[in-house]
């Protein structure tokens, strides 16, 4: 039996050559291993985006295949001659060279493009070059001459049998070149799929890339499926033995492995005379003096020492120093920030003022943050004011330079809708039909999308139908395009482009590396997350307004230092938490009257308990019962008491679950961390089950009861849906308390700042204003003579009370340029006449927007008249200005808006109305006679049938709610919470999903101060006010 030839595939694309390959990296390496290849070169187009995933697959599955790093390029030698070049990395120097080359090619072009020049190739010293020749290429001799002159690195000729009539001719040409230039010939498959069955997907990706249906593409599609990984028996039949052998010879020269990529943190942060460790300790000591002014507890000190030792051992000092430097800048620039996540477990972070959570207030678990077993860099997320985050970005770029700092990539993959659309377009379905089908497939339906599709008017027997399903399923999860990560920075000591290619992002002056956060984690590169949080902006702006109008300077620490304020907690206990960070949602507001937080730690629990994890794990009710004294608090052992005492014996935080595994079942820190990771990916990989036996065995061995152990395990499974780490909740609780405090004591500045920080939070501006008005805040409308760009405070009657003047930013369709012009002009004059606006040469749309928003009420009788007068085309002519001013402004406009028209215009122009509410208006018209308003619900009889009506402001259908939809309605007196059970949703889905105005008949339930309406009949009454322009926030 003849032995199979050895082979190494040297030219292979992954689907990270976006839309050009139909296989994932792991599929390619697995298939190559199955086929018995010696090696596989991953050579995406001018990119190394796929190599880390291939490398991770080889490592994790311990595949017996050598992975070679490379890239391929389309290269224009002349205007008429395009070559296909593959570069491979035999060693680390070649790898660095390749990264730099890709960076140069990408940086000199627009995002998504690249340009390779002959001079780039001429400068290469370490790489290996494959000149891949296809049958359609001509003038090979001229090209060969040029390459021979310029290229100094080893060159090989590669080709593939495409099974056309020109294959033999191609081989003859190659042999001639080989003779003349002494370039060995090798086989290279130019692989685009690991299996021929992926051909359909590849064609659809081509159609998507070229934006044409398949039937229009002719020879732009592949003629056959030969660009796939072939069995060695097939290769032996197709190719001469020597050519196959040469592929292995080339592969043997390539010894570079990604594990050699080493990463250095920037070192300039350490002053002379110090090492990184010593400098970090110095900073920590400094920080301790301010953070622990009244002394450090022994326990805290012990944890701190442990942490510093671990940091030194794992050499993470520079990571902390870099972050410290960034937050230092923020402090100096007066940008509010806060570290969160597992970093709040770190006392070092607290001392360095990266986080604001006092470790004395929570149970710190350092292993959650760093552990030796995990071999992962620590993950510290720092939130900054969202309007000023760009300043932090620019600081990083300025300090480290564009070469040493770049954002991580974020890979966008095909989701259901995009996959379906791509497949349908490729099959040439009409655009209207595609949109119709998508509109009628609901994510929330209990039926799968395939089942829903079967119910739609589409010929089930047609081939198109089957193809549509097959292609959509196949495309799901495929990389589609790359963009920048939301805030993940990679900063290095040396130029980044020696480690990983860097390319232009879509935003100007932004560069992004070609690896995403998972790649960085796999290779141990450290990433700093510079994130944005709207509430920080709101709090900072509140402080600024308080300083300006109340002459009081406040910081976060000042408020937390005041301790727990009973009045603030009373407000929260009454579920008066709209606008308060993290506890303003419908679910949180339902929990507040039950949990009744009285102190900071209660808030920490409040934030963490309303999460899918504790809900799924059935921890919420046991906790509440114990808290309210309805159930006794017991612990099976002292060890568990120490872990669970703070939460009355019920695990609420993620760390508690991990600690329980350690103390009750004997897990080591690393094993416990493995459990944590399994929890995070429970639904995806189902790895939790393998911990069940160990957990139960360990607990039983330590004397715990079987049912207690089972309960703990089921709670762990529940937590897999995501529970908060205590540290994370603690960070958020600081902001929650501060925002509640500001709401209570300084409501006008608070609401003003909240409105200026939109979009953020759970509620749109209209609901925030409604809530503010219920708290006695007066609002003044947008005014041409009094408004600024943002909302501002105005004193009322020279007392120390303030009204909020709405700003120009609220007016829809008003451009920033127009606002600038108005504000500038207003420095010189007050507007008395509309004519003055004409002189400013504002665009017609801007004038119309101002008129419709009622901003010109001082210059005109009403908005219709204002709009009418502003649309006078002659008024803008300079010669006519004076006479127009007299004539038109004295002419009364015949049509005046009635209250309904005013209200509709308010909503259309600003999204809210200060004077009218749609429900109030309908009630005045006698349309909603039997409905109960929100303020009167509390006095209704529990479990009675009532009718309510309101504007739909939010819809929520959380995954934990088993198909239940929560709808928030708003009437003129407040908000109403409606619960729609799954069957009602299915039966009345149109009203549930599309209504702007809803009338609900249902049963009222009042329990512990929490009021819900369980919906029976839902009636969409949007058509009663068809012109009303409101937009609900739909969550999930």
């Amino acid at each position: 039996m003849p032995c199979l030839p050895d082979y190494a595939e040297l030219f292979c694309l992954t689907n990270y050559s976006f839309l050009k390959s139909a296989s994932h990296p792991h599929e390619l390496v697995e298939r190559c291993t199955e086929l018995g290849y010696q090696a596989l070169a991953i050579t995406d187009e001018c990119s190394l985006a796929g190599i880390v995933k291939a490398y991770s697959a080889v490592q994790s599955q311990q595949l017996n295949i050598k992975l070679i790093i490379g890239a391929h390029f389309h290269f224009s030698l002349t205007t008429k001659q395009n070559l296909l070049i593959v570069l491979l990395c035999p060693n680390k120097a070649a790898y660095s060279e390749l990264c730099q080359l890709i960076t140069r090619c990408r940086r000199r072009s627009n995002k998504g493009e690249y340009q390779l020049l002959l001079t780039d190739l001429a400068e290469l010293k370490h790489c290996l070059l494959l000149w891949h020749i296809e049958y359609w290429q001509t003038e090979l001799t001229n090209a060969a001459k040029k390459l021979k002159q310029m290229i100094k690195i080893p060159v090989y000729l590669s080709y593939r049998r495409q099974l056309t009539f020109k294959d033999n001719h191609l081989i003859q040409q190659l042999e001639l070149l080989c003779q003349n230039y002494n370039w060995p010939i090798t086989v290279a498959g130019f692989i685009k799929m690991h299996d021929k069955k992926r051909r359909h997907i590849l064609d659809v990706l081509t159609a998507e890339r070229l934006n044409q249906p398949l039937r229009e593409l002719a020879d732009q599609l592949l003629p056959n499926s030969e660009q796939s990984l072939l069995a060695r028996t097939t290769l032996a039949r197709l190719y001469p033995y020597q050519h196959l052998k040469n592929s292995c010879s080339i592969a043997q020269k390539c010894a570079f492995c990604l594990s050699e990529v080493s990463y250095q943190y920037p070192t300039e942060l350490v002053p002379k005379g110090y090492t990184a460790t010593r400098w970090l300790r110095h900073l920590v000591r400094q920080g301790m003096q301010s953070r622990f002014a009244d002394g450090v507890r022994f326990k805290t000190l012990k944890t701190l020492v442990k942490e510093l030792k671990l940091i030194a051992e794992l050499k993470y000092e520079y990571f902390f120093l870099t972050l410290h430097d960034i937050v230092n800048f923020a402090q100096q620039a007066n940008i509010l920030y806060q570290g969160r996540g597992s970093a709040a477990n770190s006392i070092v972070c607290y001392c360095l003022k990266i986080t604001a959570v006092d470790p004395r207030q929570i149970d710190v678990l350092i292993e959650r943050f760093i552990s030796k077993e995990r071999r992962e860099p620590p993950d510290i997320d720092v939130d900054f004011e969202h309007h000023r985050r760009e300043e932090v970005y620019q600081y990083i770029y300025q300090k480290y330079g564009r070469e040493r700092a770049a954002l991580a990539a974020s890979i966008h993959t095909f989701k259901f809708k995009s996959a379906f659309r791509a497949a349908a377009k490729a099959l040439a379905l009409p655009a209207e039909q595609i949109e119709f089908l998508l509109k009628n497939i609901h994510r929330k339906s209990e039926l799968s999308w395939q089942q829903q599709l079967a119910k739609l008017p589409l010929d089930k027997n047609s081939e198109h139908y089957q193809h549509l399903i097959e292609l959509t399923e196949g495309l799901y999860g495929f990389p589609n395009f790359m963009s920048q990560h939301v805030g993940g920075f990679v900063i290095s000591a040396g130029p980044l482009h020696e480690l990983v290619p860097v390319e232009n992002a879509a935003m100007p002056d932004r560069t992004v590396i070609q690896w995403d956060k998972d790649d960085l984690e796999s290779l141990g590169l450290l990433k700093v997350d510079i994130l944005a949080l709207g509430m920080l902006t709101a709090i900072q702006q509140s402080f600024a307004l308080i300083k300006q109008h109340y002459q009081r300077t406040l910081e976060l620490a000042d408020i937390t230092a005041l301790g727990d304020d009973a009045k603030v907690y009373q407000m929260l206990q009454a579920a008066d938490s709209i606008g308060v960070f993290q506890i303003e949602s419908r679910a949180q507001m339902s929990m507040l009257p039950r949990l009744k937080p009285k102190c900071y730690y209660d808030l920490v629990i409040q934030i963490a308990i309303v999460r899918p994890g504790p809900i799924q794990g059935d921890m919420v009710h046991p906790y509440l019962r114990r808290r309210n004294g309805l159930e006794s608090v017991d612990y099976p052992s002292q060890a568990t008491r120490e872990v669970l005492a703070r939460t009355l014996g019920v695990p609420v935080f993620q760390e508690q679950v991990i600690k329980l595994a350690m103390v009750a079942a004997g897990f080591s820190g690393g094993e416990a961390d493995g459990l944590r990771r399994a929890m995070a990916s429970w639904k995806k990989h189902g790895l939790l089950q393998k911990f069940r036996k160990k957990l139960l065995t360990g607990m039983l061995a330590r004397g715990y009861q079987q049912n207690y152990a089972e309960r703990i395990f089921s709670q762990i499974c529940g937590f897999a849906e995501y529970g908060f780490p205590e540290s994370h909740s603690a960070s958020f609780a600081v902001l929650a308390y501060v925002s509640a405090w500001l709401k209570y004591y300084y409501p006008a500045p608070f609401y003003c700042a909240l409105l200026n920080s939109q979009p953020m939070g759970f509620y749109p501006p209209a609901q925030l204003i409604a809530d503010a008005k219920r708290h006695g805040i007066t609002f003044n409308p947008v005014c041409i003579n009094h408004s600024e760009r943002l909302h501002t405070l105005e004193k009322i009657n020279n007392e120390n009370t303030f009204a909020i003047r709405l700003g120009f930013n609220l007016v829809r369709g008003l451009s920033q340029t127009a606002i600038d012009t108005l504000l500038q002009a207003r420095q010189q004059q007050t507007f008395h006449r509309l004519n003055q606006l004409h002189q400013l040469s504002l665009a017609e749309n801007d004038l119309a927007a101002l008129a419709s928003a009622g901003a010109l009420h001082q210059l005109s009788e009403h908005r219709y008249q204002a709009r009418w007068q502003l649309m006078d085309s002659q008024a803008s002519l300079p010669l006519f200005n004076q006479s127009i001013a007299e004539k038109t402004e004295n002419a009364g406009y015949l049509i005046a808006p009635d209250p309904l028209a005013n209200m509709l215009e308010d909503y259309a122009a600003t999204g809210l109305s200060l004077h009218h509410h749609p429900i109030a208006w309908l009630k005045q018209q006698g349309s909603l006679l039997n409905t109960i308003s929100a303020e009167k619900l509390a006095v209704q009889k529990n479990k009675s049938i009532i009718q309510v009506a309101g504007v739909v402001t939010a819809r929520q259908s959380p995954g934990t709610a088993a198909g239940i939809t929560f709808i928030t309605l708003e009437d003129e007196t407040g908000s109403i919470n409606v619960i729609v059970w799954k069957a009602s949703v299915q039966a009345q889905i149109k009203a549930v999903t599309q209504a702007k105005l809803l009338r609900v008949t249902g049963t009222i339930e009042i329990s512990d101060g929490v009021i819900h309406i369980i919906a029976g009949r839902l009636q969409d009454i949007s058509h009663w006010l068809q012109a009303l322009d409101t937009r609900a926030r739909d969550f999930h």
Partner: protein, 470 residues
């Protein structure tokens, strides 16, 4: 001026229903392909709640047995042209408006008819011959008459314009033919109906609302619109929509007979003859095919032309069924000029007639070219020399006079041993998304008769003969 507007809300539907030999017992709806909305629905459909404006999917849910037709405005336009041609006998001033209305200027015609009743009766008689549903209204301007006919039609045909302005004033501004942006602007200034606009001085309308609206309001009040009156066509065109799709070319002779009779009548009435005409075959998705027939002997006789077209049809292989036929004739010769002898008989076997028959019978000159298509049987084609610029873009010719096969065989299994392979394989796996999916290897070979042959090998290793080369 007195304008009478006739608005036909369901012209295509009415035309379709009239073609049916029996009354329908199932609903019929017409759907616009672009917006997927129902544009016309019969009374049966409307009873079940399917009204114009309803989405197609909703209609499907409400009607399980509806007959669905695609909206084709060109059918309505043709019907309007036909009606205009008939009404031309009654009224010389006709304006054809889009695909759903006709405007008749009646003040001039009243001079000839003397009474309004006689004019209206004549108009009504013409309309009754078509039996289409219509709405009518009269006003002093075209635009006003159109709006009233569509939104506030009169109960019966009349030319009373006194109350039309009052009725017009009450119409909502949503009826006006303005852009969505203009309409939104009007709403946001409080305008609700046309009266609100008409109350404003016209100079203010122009200054504040723009010249377009100013012009529109002016046209409502007095007719300022330039009318493009209907002119009967100078050329002969007759169309026939077939009752069912015809797949065989020879079967087209029967419907063509009718068209040629119409041509004969047309030519005879005008005392002209012709020596050239064209027949256009319309398909569902493929481009229309034009057959030009010429004759050395000009004639008006349908029999002669039918015979000539029969020869042409024999040469044609229909690639798709025919839905529609069009007969065009644009060249006319005065019949008197063609007579050589007042007493001579028509010689049906004259040289010219024979030559005409022979020309019709012979093959058209065409180019032979290779186009980009992996389906090799489609890759080599003959294309009429004048058609090279009309091909779809993916069928671009990139090689002229390539030596493709002269004959495509029906796939017949062969014994591979009797062939000598010259080149191959060329593996083609393509068109998996369509009915023409193929997956085979192509080889070129010589058979025992030294003929050049193209062979196919399937994935199941069966060999077939595919094509023969010259």
């Amino acid at each position: 001026m007195i304008w009478l507007a006739l608005y036909f809300p369901k012209l295509q539907l009415d035309a379709y229903l009239l073609q049916q030999s029996e009354p329908l017992n199932h609903p019929v709806i017409i759907v616009d392909k672009q917006s997927y909305q129902v544009v016309q629905s019969c009374s049966l459909a409307q009873q079940k709640g399917v009204l114009p404006g309803c989405h197609f999917a909703q209609a499907c849910l409400l009607l399980s047995d509806a007959k669905l037709l695609l909206y084709r405005p060109e059918i309505a336009r043709k019907q309007l042209q036909t009606m205009a041609q008939t009404l031309y006998q009654v009224c010389a001033d006709i304006v054809v408006g889009g695909c759903d209305r006709l405007l008749l200027r009646c003040d001039r015609m009243l001079q000839y008819y003397q009474t309004e009743t006689s004019l209206l009766t004549a108009i009504q008689d013409c309309l009754q011959s078509f039996n289409y549903q219509y709405q009518s209204a009269s006003a002093t301007s075209q635009l006003a008459a159109c709006l009233l006919a569509q939104h506030a039609p009169a109960r019966h045909l009349c030319l009373q314009t006194q109350k039309s302005s009052q009725t017009l004033a009450k119409l909502s501004i949503n009826c006006l033919p303005v852009t969505a942006k203009q309409l939104k602007n009007l709403h946001r200034m409080g305008f609700k109906n046309i009266a609100d606009l008409q109350r404003l001085p016209s100079y203010q309308v122009g200054r504040h609302l723009g010249s377009e609206l100013h012009q529109l309001i002016a046209e409502l009040q007095a007719d300022q619109q330039l009318a493009t009156y209907y002119q009967p066509s100078e050329h002969f065109t007759a169309e026939l929509e077939l009752m069912y799709e015809v797949g065989q070319a020879e079967a087209l002779l029967f419907p063509l007979r009718r068209l040629f009779m119409q041509l004969q009548n047309y030519l005879t009435r005008r005392a002209v003859i012709t020596d050239r005409l064209s027949v256009i075959l319309h398909f569902r998705t493929e481009p229309a095919k034009k057959i030009v027939i010429t004759s050395q002997q000009a004639s008006a006789q349908s029999g002669l032309w039918l015979e000539l077209v029969k020869y042409q049809l024999e040469k044609i292989q229909l690639t798709a069924p025919v839905l529609n036929l069009t007969l065009n004739c644009q060249t006319f010769i005065t019949a008197a000029n063609n007579q050589t002898n007042l007493f001579s008989q028509q010689d049906h076997h004259s040289k010219q007639t024979l030559f005409a028959r022979l020309s019709s019978r012979c093959r058209q000159i065409s180019k032979y070219a290779l186009v980009k298509d992996y389906r090799l049987k489609h890759a080599y084609r003959t294309i009429a020399w004048h058609q090279t610029s009309q091909l779809p873009k993916n069928y671009q010719i990139f090689s002229q006079l390539h030596a493709g096969p002269i004959y495509l065989c029906q796939h017949q299994a062969i014994d591979k041993q009797k062939f000598t392979l010259l080149a191959g394989p060329q593996r083609l796996v393509t068109h998996w998304w369509s009915q023409e999916a193929q997956q085979q290897d192509y080889f070129y070979a010589i058979n025992q008769q030294q003929q050049y042959i193209r062979l196919i090998k399937t994935p199941t290793l069966k060999w077939y003969q595919d094509a023969l080369f010259a």
